[in-house]
Subunit: 208 residues, 4 copies
DNA sequence: AATGAATGAGGCTTCATTCAT
DNA sequence: TATGAATGAAGCCTCATTCAT
């Protein structure tokens, strides 16, 4: 029973991981369900016991992978002495960018499939078991409070930053256009500082 | 002769326009070449006389449509009294956003397929015949000069703005997440002003 | 289980036989995979479960059909009193020629697609289940030994005979050119006797 | 006019030669009419002014190429001191085999498409302009007479030799199966001598 | 729960042939 | 004569999905 339950989980995991691997190497469009089950070593029908189709797998993967990046970045941050909301956020961003630079396929995968909706789901994913179900968004809020900061619209600020980072990184990492990621970083972080400034000043007064 | 050449052009146009229409309504993945030729009223083989496959059509369309948006925005700007680099740029962005709000399919189409590479091609497309081959990037440079402005890295500034606008609009227009486009606009334009400031101050000193 | 496996075999057989029938009547070039599956009463995809393309079927068929001819000829021989290597070989050849005269399509099919490589594969095919896996080439060797014959290069002799018979029969049976099969037979068999003589004398001495 | 006529001939020649080149390199099945006209530098419609389809070109080519081989072999023979029917025939065969060994594509092309019918047409082609329209078959007959030889059925003898050589060479040159061409030559020529013997003795008595 | 043989709709692409110029 | 754009039938092959075991 336990073993059975365990076996079930194993198959699902195998499908999940194999799908990710193939999505990374061949792209989603060119990855077939046959490819996935064959590489995972399960029967075709089994796929349909766990997923409805390959886009189902994709969505779950995007969310998971984006969440993992944040989790890792957050853990790294905690291992440093860094304080201050801006520095912390930039530290995490920098960490994620460095990770992505080493995995171009992941950039495409996330960039092409990450909507703010899925993204927010990722932000709400518990960061790690040992953190008592703390998620990234909560920790972001904590960070602000700990540092005595105040932003009128922290979510909008985050949204702005995330979209800016996402779009620019995609181009710089994949195409080195208009400049390489390393060349662009100083400009990017400067722009992010500017966005923090903007939201500290309080946009709410003029937003209506 | 002339007639023959003209007829050829007509067929190509028909395919081009029909493909766009179908990409908008059904999406690229679900649009087949059969769909395109049938709706365009030409034979299947004719498609292959002008395009290598549907992705070929897509790339040409993305570039063309993005270029058209800028051209239209630029023309509208010229019909106003607006001066000043920032105001002009924001006017064009606002114009484009308004256009896109009325054509959600176009948002998806452009957002999913626009890399900075294709984008720059669009920027280099002549704005309009009557403007003597002036393209958007030139006119942007002119604008800066006319207003006695100076930016150390105008292209990087533009890149930053374009990616920011692209990513945020995509979410706001399509998903109203985390807020609607109209709600987000003030924040967006404020951020853009910030980016102008940043580049006016001169980032080049710290960019190495 | 058994039933499943059996069903699988049935489908494959159906495809195999149908393909042969169509190759015979329409020729390979004009036989389409659609034709085959339709006539065999299976789905198109099923074809690809068992064969990679129609040339795959062809190769397997040529080998099989050539093997069958030899097997039948050999069995007929065993039912006679004939002894002697030459007489036995000529008996089998005569039997095969008579068969082929009644199936011109088979002549074309085999003649156009039979290389010595495929042919040798056919010769190595077990003649019949009840013969304990004896194949034609073995039985040819046995025949020689039983009759106390000796040939320095039996394989080369066989090769020469087979190519001679193949080429001449093809023309005589299909085109009656330069004479009919029946007219040519005496010449052919005389030539074959000559080839036996040649190899009995021992060519190996002069072959270098 | 003359020029026009000449131009016409040029186009036809271009198509003819280009087709041959492509048949050799890509095979007939994979050579399209588009390929031919494109490489020949003429319009598609022009092809149909001179040939009915690609098989029309093929037949004309096979006959021409086979004829050329004989013509060249015959000319070479004339440049030697060789006399005697057998030696002469074997000289020509040896010459042709050597030529074919250097052009494997030509082996396939001729072997797959040469029926005795087309072949005889080739044999009847005038050997060379300067020989007063003498063709190979005539010269073969002359050869026999000059040497005071007598064969009851010279055509059948030639047929037997041609088919034997054709089939065996095909395998030996292309697949080196069951041995290489050079290894097989002594056996082949010995067999040919045997065939001459057979027909010298007079088969006619037993052929009815 | 797991299998994997079978399905067949539907996509892509090629290419011989025509015909108006 | 020569052209080459246009045709559209026809072939190949894939692959998501089902279902009997």
């Amino acid at each position: 029973m336990n073993k059975l339950e365990h076996n079930k989980q194993l198959k699902k995991e195998a499908l999940f991981n194999t799908a990710f691997e193939l999505f990374m190497t061949k792209g989603i469009n060119k990855t077939t369900i046959s490819d996935i089950v064959q590489k995972a070593g399960v029967a075709k029908g089994t796929f349909y016991l766990y997923f409805s189709d390959k886009y189902d797998v994709r969505n779950k993967l995007v969310s998971k992978k984006a969440g993992e990046l944040f989790t890792k970045g957050y853990k790294e941050l905690k291992a440093t002495q860094i304080t201050g909301t801006e520095d912390s956020v930039i530290y995490i961003i920098d960490y994620i960018i460095n990770e992505l630079q080493q995995d171009k396929a992941l950039v495409t995968f996330i960039a092409k499939n990450l909507s703010w909706g899925i993204f927010r789901a990722a932000l709400n994913t518990p960061i790690a078991a040992e953190e008592n179900g703390l998620n990234f968004y909560d920790s972001f809020t904590n960070l602000i409070e700990e540092n005595g900061d105040h932003f009128d619209n922290p979510e909008i600020m985050l949204f702005t930053i995330v979209e800016l980072v996402g779009g620019t990184c995609h181009n710089c990492i994949l195409y080195h256009e208009p400049l390489t990621m390393d060349e662009y970083k100083p400009f990017l972080y400067d722009t992010i500082h500017g966005i923090f400034q903007q939201h500290r000043k309080g946009m709410s007064s003029q937003s209506q």
